[in-house]
Symmetry: C2
Subunit: 157 residues, 2 copies
């Protein structure tokens, strides 16, 4: 059970964007340099965040990425699921209905108790990540962080 390596990238890039002055954008190339990441692959991940409604992309010479919504409305869960999808890690293929031990269909109207427990665990995971927004993350950083981020990451208006 592994999340893509890019999960760390997009969490950090979104946290960085949450520290920029409103209305400014940043390019994939800038973020790639900022974190020493492969720019083309990072750009693909940022596009996935656009499709998920987490980021907005603007085109043109000063185009780039910015948060699509206020930082207080973007949860860590939304960012993680933008690059990894929202499907649960456990797949129930109903083996209880197969083989010589197969249960009759009428005994399988409810989800299998094992599938339910696995779903409960995934729900707990999702709830934890849905409890924090980018605004919460930025608020937990040292007070000097946003000014430092802005000075190190030249922005375009």
């Amino acid at each position: 059970m592994k999340l893509p390596v890019s999960t760390e990238w997009v969490l950090h890039c979104a946290t960085t964007m949450a520290q920029l002055a409103p209305g400014t954008t940043v390019s994939a190339a800038q973020l790639a340099e900022y974190y020493d990441l492969p720019a083309p692959y990072l750009a693909k991940q940022l596009q996935a965040l656009v499709r998920a409604g987490v980021l907005a992309a603007t085109t043109g010479p000063r185009g780039g990425f910015r948060l699509a919504r206020p930082a207080g409305e973007i949860t860590l869960l939304a960012i993680v699921e933008a690059v990894d999808g929202a499907s649960a890690p456990y797949e129930c293929r109903e083996i209880r209905q197969r083989g010589t031990g197969a249960l009759p269909q009428e005994d399988c109207r409810n989800a299998c108790v094992l599938a339910r427990k696995m779903a409960d665990a995934h729900d707990a995971w999702r709830r934890t990540l849905a409890a924090d927004t980018l605004a919460d993350i930025v608020a937990s950083l040292p007070p000097s962080a946003p000014a430092r981020t802005r000075s190190r990451l030249p922005q375009r208006r």
Copy 2:
């Protein structure tokens, strides 16, 4: 973030073993037939459960598998981690210390807040699966389940 398909297999096989009369064993071939699963691959997964201390294997003509501990002492987490490992799905490669935005080392003595949140989510997932044992699962089945399981799965003493 995907668990192996065999996660369903081993959860069901362990639940089945928890319903057998104490002291009886069941072979991988029997369990494979019971759930219509590929026997050689299932056998490998059951061996992983032996290595994890969930199952015990006995050799000889009547050899096979049985629970290594009482069902009340085997959590769903132990079974899942026996086949998937216990490592967390999120990997923090400390990109905050890389690139033009690199934080100085003295600012990185504590784990990154994003890595901590991801670890919190994994902890919540693990706690949920550690809260239920095979005994709890069997107790949630219809009262007729153990007798049915025993009658459909010829056992060896």
